[in-house]
């Protein structure tokens, strides 16, 4: 699993959504990590996966949440609301307008 900072996580999440806009599934999971031997700081662990690639980032304080949250929502909004497929227009074949020469 690739652990990255919030900015890089958002970029990678955006590319995950982009790759799977027509097919596949993307999961985003949030879990609280408490203080312990393995984790000196408590905070929110955010993970994303498409079933093959995994990315994650750790948000340790409320101040970072105020920076991260609008970025996350912007990505989700762009991909969830902007994924409407436009119907393909069929091109009409032009009518041949050859003029017949009359003598």
């Amino acid at each position: 699993m690739v652990r990255s900072g919030p900015d890089r996580f958002v970029k990678r999440l955006s590319s995950l959504y982009e790759e799977h806009k027509d097919h596949g599934t993307v999961w985003v999971t949030m879990k609280r990590i408490g203080e312990g031997k393995k984790h000196p700081d408590s905070g929110c662990l955010i993970r994303a996966t498409d079933g093959k690639r995994k990315i994650s980032c750790f948000i340790a304080s409320s101040s970072k949440v105020t920076e991260f949250e609008p970025q996350l929502h912007a990505i989700m909004k762009a991909h969830f609301l902007g994924g409407v497929k436009t119907p393909q227009r069929t091109r009409k074949q032009p009518v041949s307008s050859k003029k017949k020469k009359t003598t």
């Binding site: 959504y17 596949g24 599934t25 993307v26 999961w27 985003v28 999971t29 949030m30 879990k31 609280r32 990590i33 408490g34 408590s42 905070g43 929110c44 948000i59 340790a60 304080s61 409320s62 970072k64 949440v65 991260f68 949250e69 996350l72 929502h73 989700m76 909004k77 991909h79 969830f80 609301l81 994924g83």
Partner: protein, 81 residues
């Protein structure tokens, strides 16, 4: 696994689940074919809610904000609702 149909019931249930077991509760957002499935579990109980982001994106924003804010805070600072 249960799919709840009413948003206020789902929201209050998942908030209570997290406040009871903050280190066990996981919140996931699954996006597939234009639909979003929200799932919250504490490894004993699992609650799910389906929503259409075109019409209910504010609900998704609200629940994301609540979990992000509460999961990153210390236990004594967690807020309800």
């Amino acid at each position: 696994m249960v799919y709840l149909e009413e948003w206020p019931v789902f929201l209050s249930s998942v908030q209570n689940m997290f406040l009871n077991k903050p280190n066990k509760t996981r919140y996931s957002v699954k996006y597939k074919n234009g639909k979003v499935a929200l799932k919250v579990t504490d490894d004993q109980e699992c609650l799910q809610f389906l929503l259409d982001p075109k019409y209910d994106f504010e609900k998704l924003e609200n629940i994301n904000a609540w979990f992000l804010s509460n999961m990153s805070r210390l236990p004594t600072e967690q807020s309800s609702v």
